[in-house]
């Protein structure tokens, strides 16, 4: 299985390459990709340098243009595709039908991957994108069980990539509007969930509060672990019960099921976290590289090493990890 690693900037890209990535993915400094955060992402110059560094080390480079343009800003997405073609990236990761239609028509030689933001959870949806745009790979949303992933792999006309580690979206990606409901900006339209510009941290008599555009997402008692106010991971009240009504702050970690993912025919494992530091990228890439190598060598006797798990837990949300929908303890 190929290891696909996040690159939020040139240092992260190099950390991924140096620690064993097979491919890296990045985006431009605007809303054309789903990690549109201040100070993050690539200029024309750093993209060029990054591409050369990766290619010199035999690592492939994918560019994410995986948000949804509207008529008034379409030209930015078109420019991003043109820039990707000029750079000579190895694939574009796209979600929008219009963007894929444009790319397939103007740059038919540029390989397309369907982004997780494209929300394809089944082989029929994949067939649509394959038939019309010749996509070569699909990144699956983090809502399927291992058995369901297997069914998709068996019936899909193209390669399947799944998330292996990182922050966990529990809603099907590309169709989650919680963030724009609260702030006006969603991953689809703006390239970020719960955008930092709308976040306020406030010390109050009742504890440290985090708000997103004035909506109280969480309130921490003295000594509690605090976390970024991603709104599906806040504490709310439902019929008299207060708690994590949707999801707890937790990260996805698939080290425990790598042999299964390999045996059902998954082609690539993706690490989430373009918004994280180069140190995070280096550490997670190194652990996943070691695990994938061990799994490839001897899947029968593969066991996640305790120090791998500890290294990943240390960079996880709430220092906790889960197999999420792959395993479904809540089913």
């Amino acid at each position: 299985m190929e290891l696909v690693c996040p690159a939020g900037n040139l240092q992260s890209l190099k950390a991924a390459v140096d620690n064993g990535a097979n491919a890296v993915y990045f985006g431009l400094r605007d809303d054309t990709n789903a990690r549109h955060f201040a100070g993050l992402n690539f200029t024309a110059k750093t993209a060029h340098d990054g591409l050369r560094y990766a290619h010199d080390h035999g690592v492939r480079v994918f560019m994410a243009i995986n948000t949804y343009p509207q008529p008034s800003n379409w030209s930015r997405w078109q420019a991003a595709v043109e820039q990707a073609a000029g750079l000579g990236v190895d694939a574009l990761i796209c979600a929008d039908i219009g963007v894929m239609d444009f790319t397939a028509n103007q740059f038919p030689e540029l390989p397309l991957h369907l982004s997780v933001q494209g929300s394809a959870t089944n082989d029929q949806a994949i067939r649509f994108y394959h038939r019309h745009f010749g996509i070569r790979r699909v990144v699956l949303p983090r809502v399927l069980s291992v058995r369901q992933v297997e069914q998709v792999v068996q019936n899909s006309p193209v390669a399947i990539e799944v998330f292996g580690f990182g922050s966990l979206c529990v809603m099907v990606e590309g169709r989650c509007l919680l963030s724009s409901y609260a702030t006006g900006c969603s991953p689809n339209t703006y390239g970020a969930c719960s955008p930092a510009k709308d976040v306020v941290w406030q010390d109050t008599a009742e504890g440290l509060e985090t708000r997103l555009n004035h909506v109280l997402i969480d309130r921490y008692a003295e000594g509690e672990n605090t976390g970024y106010p991603t709104l599906c991971k806040g504490r709310f009240e439902v019929a008299g019960k207060t708690g994590y009504a949707i999801e707890e702050p937790v990260s996805l970690n698939t080290l425990g099921i790598l042999p299964q993912l390999q045996s059902i025919g998954v082609s690539a494992i993706k690490i989430e976290g373009r918004q994280r530091s180069p140190a995070y990228v280096g550490r997670v890439t190194r652990v996943l590289r070691a695990a994938l190598d061990a799994c490839t060598r001897d899947p029968q006797h593969y066991q996640p090493e305790p120090d791998w798990m500890a290294a990943l837990a240390a960079v996880s949300e709430g220092a906790q990890t889960t197999l999420g929908a792959y395993d479904r303890p809540w089913q």
Binding site: D96, Q148, R175, Y181, V215, V238
Partner: protein, 300 residues
């Protein structure tokens, strides 16, 4: 502009659903969308029941559309979409790209769950057979105007003008989670919540609605004040999403504004008490979806 009734998002007992459609058939509604779009475990009405209902409504002069499930996970769910897409008597509203793939080549409709955010996407899907699209709920009036200016002649535009906003879908069921029940043994708790389960912040601000695997807004989208503008923009159909109570007031108010020129202030006043919580219209005006920019907020 025509009026439509979207698929029921909640899980109602069979008798309540049948009663609802018995009533709606007598109402000034042009188009009725039928079917379960949220959770495959909701089987108070099965495909055969929906088809019988569709026949009755069509006989009574209504345009009937069958809606597909939105999030497909299990192979059996995809199988159900395939069966639905095989029937030829009614047009289908696709809520997942699987349905678009299966319907390609014949006329079909896309629901709010299909991401049509620009004219290039719209044109591509029209080439595939799209005859009507529902504006994704997070898009603004400005984007709709741009889309309308460039839309192919043969396609109709529908906008959700009244109802809780569908905001997210998950593998996990949050209603079952609330009750500490496994998803597979949920005891159909959604039946106890005909308008979903309200989620509020820890300071009591209503925020979202849990509806099984779907998360909706707590506020009800109400675009009454935008109807005149929509007509000018060439919107063909205004959609009302059903709620458990006050449907007679809601339907008659929208009808009276559209067909009888009822004064907007009077119409807004009529709707003041019908929302499960309150109303919002922020997406239409380019803001946060929860904002109420043209609707007076009543203190709770």
């Amino acid at each position: 502009m025509k009026l439509s009734i979207g698929p029921i998002q909640y899980y109602w007992p069979r008798s309540k659903m049948l009663e609802f459609y018995d009533w709606i058939v007598t109402q000034p509604i042009d188009i009725i969308y039928l079917g379960e779009t949220v959770c495959a475990k909701r089987r108070e009405l099965g495909l055969d029941d929906w088809l019988v209902l569709a026949g009755k409504l069509q006989q009574a002069g209504k345009e009937v559309v069958l809606s597909t499930m939105t999030l497909l996970e299990a192979g059996s769910e995809l199988g159900a979409v395939k069966r639905l897409c095989q029937q030829q008597d009614y047009c289908i509203e696709a809520n997942d790209m699987a349905a678009v793939a299966l319907l390609e080549g014949r006329p079909f409709i896309t629901g709010p769950g299909i991401n049509i955010y620009n004219d290039r996407t719209l044109a591509k899907l029209v080439d595939c057979g799209l005859k009507r699209w529902v504006l994704p709920v997070e898009l603004s009036r400005e984007t709709l105007a741009d889309m309308q200016a460039k839309r192919p002649d043969q396609v109709e535009t529908e906008v959700l003008v009244y109802g809780r906003l569908p905001l997210a879908y998950s593998a996990r069921c949050y209603t079952a989670r609330h009750y500490d029940l496994p998803k597979d043994a949920c005891a159909f708790r959604c039946l106890d919540h005909p308008d979903g389960l309200l989620l509020s912040t820890r300071e009591g601000q209503p925020f979202l609605t849990l509806n099984g695997i779907q998360t909706q807004s707590a506020s009800t989208c109400n675009l009454l004040s935008a109807l005149t503008d929509m007509r000018k923009l060439g919107v063909d159909i205004a959609r009302i999403s059903p709620q458990a109570a006050h449907m007679a007031t809601i339907v008659s108010t929208f009808h009276d504004v559209l067909q009888q020129g009822l004064d907007l202030a009077v119409a807004s006043e009529r709707l003041a008490d019908v929302y499960p919580v309150d109303a919002c219209d922020g997406y239409w005006y380019g803001g946060a979806g929860m904002d109420a920019l043209s609707i007076p907020r009543v203190a709770l």
